[in-house]
């Protein structure tokens, strides 16, 4: 007798396995795929100089707007530059801007937020300034800041960071304000721990989980804002390809050369998707509340 698998059961499992994607997410397939994609994109970007077929800046007036071919994998742009080389190289600065903006805003916001959350005196002054910064439309602030410093990578990072910082500060402050009512914080005070120690060792770790989510969000939106700034003519200098300025430069070619928007757009979307998914996963892992719920 041949072995017959317990057919009903396994078929059922296969079907549920196929359709309940989120269950797969829970056990980590989603985050795994996301991690693989992200690592691939980052590697592709970082290693770009070693494998791209053309210098991403090299113009060739005779080869403008060529369709994809063996010579030009994804065709060429209006300057006759190789789109493939530009898109993969563009990831370098886009990611740098994303990560840079995220790291700087989180670090600065964390510092200010801890101070505001803990020292009542500083709180009201800091929060008024933060409110003001939040009230100024980010994009306008960014344009003005870029105009002030010139469209370098640093100015774009600064321009994106300045309006993000108040959000981080608010977040950190609110976490600190709630956490300082926790009995374990009171216990630490009763045990004679000094204020800085309570702040750094007990309160600050509480901010990590929400900060990771916020950080991934900032990272993603920074990459996007850079694109919008380029669209408005206030992005990173055209000498430095980024996904944002490739798209912005290619925007009027949307109907005749969609690749100029599609490819960087695809990279950007994949990247942001992956970053977001990983951020959520990291939050779930870090957040003790989540842990308790699962137990």
């Amino acid at each position: 007798m041949t072995q017959i698998p317990s057919s009903r059961h396994s078929a059922f499992q296969v079907v549920t396995g196929l359709f309940s994607v989120p269950k797969a997410m829970r056990i980590g397939v989603g985050p795994t795929i996301a991690a693989v994609i992200l690592v691939a994109i980052v590697l592709a970007a970082v290693l770009a100089p070693y494998y791209v077929p053309y210098d991403p800046l090299e113009m060739n007036a005779m080869a403008r707007l060529k369709p994809p071919s063996d010579d030009f994998l994804l065709g060429t742009d209006p300057y006759g530059r190789d789109i493939f080389s530009r898109v993969v190289t563009g990831g370098r600065v886009s990611l740098l801007i994303g990560v840079g903006a995220a790291v700087v805003s989180v670090a600065v916001g964390l510092l200010i937020g801890l101070v505001a959350g803990y020292f009542r005196l500083a709180d009201s002054i800091i929060m008024r300034i933060m409110d003001s910064l939040m009230a100024i439309p980010a994009i306008l602030l960014a344009i003005a800041l870029v105009a002030l410093n010139g469209p370098s990578v640093t100015s774009v990072i600064i321009a994106i960071t300045v309006p993000e910082v108040p959000r981080v500060v608010r977040l950190v402050r609110s976490v600190v304000l709630t956490a300082r009512e926790e009995p374990y914080v009171e216990a630490a005070i009763a045990l004679g721990s000094s204020m800085p120690k309570v702040l750094l060792q007990h309160l600050m770790p509480n901010t990590f989980a929400p900060l990771i989510v916020q950080g991934t969000y900032i990272c993603a939106s920074a990459i996007l804002i850079e694109a919008i700034l380029s669209f408005l003519g206030a992005g990173v200098s055209t000498e430095i390809p980024t996904w944002g300025n490739i798209m912005a430069e290619g925007r009027s070619y949307f109907q005749i050369k969609p690749g100029l928007i599609f490819w960087p757009g695809l990279m950007l979307s994949l990247c942001i998707l992956a970053i977001n998914l990983l951020g959520d996963t990291a939050r779930d892992i870090l957040d003790p509340r989540m842990k308790k719920r699962e137990v």
């Binding site: 007036a61 010139g150 925007r251």
Partner: protein, 503 residues
Amino acid sequence: QEETTITAVMHSGLRVLDPVITTAHITRDHAYMIYDVLTAVDENFTPQPQMASWETSDDGLVYTFTLRDGLVFHDGAPVTGADVVASLTRWGKRDSGGQLIFDVTESLEATDDKTVVWTLTKPFGPLIDVISKQSAVPPFIMPARVAETSADETITEYIGSGPFVFDQDAYEPGVSVTYEKFDDYVPRDEPASWMAGGKVVNVDKVVWTTMPDALTALNALSAGEIDYLEQVQIDLMPILSGNEDVVVEKRDDLGYVTIGRPNFLHAPFDNKLVRQAAMAALDQESMLATMQGDPEYYKVCGAIFGCSTPLGDEAGSDLLTGGANTERAKELLEEAGYDGTPIVLMAPTDVISLNNQPVVAAQALREAGFEVDMQSMDWQSVVQRRAQQSPVAEGGWNLFFTNWMVPEVSDPLVNVMLNGRGDDGWFGWPDDPEIEAMRTEYVSASDDATKKEIATRIQEHVMDNVNYLMMGEYIIPQARRSNIEDMIPSPVPVFWNMTKAAE
């Protein structure tokens, strides 16, 4: 009969309404709608009477203008000699050509309502040419009370005697401007030719709007939401190609020039050899090709006055037109003892027609051995920075690119880049007595042959001294719905003569 309205998308938004204070093209275009001019050039570059006919005394010192009949301002007041005098005076304070004339003016007076007499202290040959020019600041005639505004302040009342009336209520700065046909305008009898001839208006209303997005403008035209698009990006023409209701065409053959301007005050461009090296390194063809794509719409041209103008001459321009001569550039740099001082090249990011040139130039210059520090900034920062005479380290600059319409460079007087008076000159400030001498000669020249001869010498001088880098000519085509017809092929887009048939 239904009202006919033409909706046109112009190259930029109208914000400044004073044609004297600014040289912006859109303001000039606006001024041609609502104001009239005394005299104007026709398509043969020949001045013709428009509001007034003129007579010149034999010694060339007295010009008498006689206003034609039927000229009224939009508020109903007749145009008088006093209005003309006030308008010319204000213009003379701003326009470089006008300044030259007023430097030799003894008096300018209205002897009666219809007559204006302009008396000079010494002959000024091109006087009529200067007041007839169509760019950059033509002398538009306004009511005297408006023209009495200081030349450094903008006017606040927009009344002219031109073929269209400005609709103040519908005006939204930077967004849209509406003109209505001026029913009391009396056109001349001659057929329209450039800015001269009869300005017969065949539509009731013209609305100019601005579309910040090139693609949207194209789509709006194909969808029939607008009638006319002043500038079409050449690469995008395929989008319109299948649409029989849309015509893409060149309006006139003159077009624009794109130029690079070195800063004469600082190293390395204070050295003629280095400027020549830059000229050798750059290649018109590749710069124009990246800008325009289709060779139909650009022309390699070494004539600093434009290749199809009366004064145009390509003498001595081999280095410019013969492609990139990297070898020669290297030799010249060697000879000049170029020490690798980086060139600060200002690259605007927000003006599409100026995006490409610095990028292409940077690549070519680097290949020739220049150190190039290309600094991206918005156009406003360029505009501010190019006025800085300080050294590069303190916020100065070495090179930038800009564009002109051909008529704006077409003779030694209108072409501001030929000014050689150092600090009083245009950005870049060459102190060039030779060229100043030739310009003075030009002013006193009375016949065309002499003028042409002087122009050729100036051309040769510029090719040697590299006052600026002529980078070639290009044309931006326009697009219209096919029911818009009979537009005058003039460098300035004008809306008289034009008809709109029912679609």
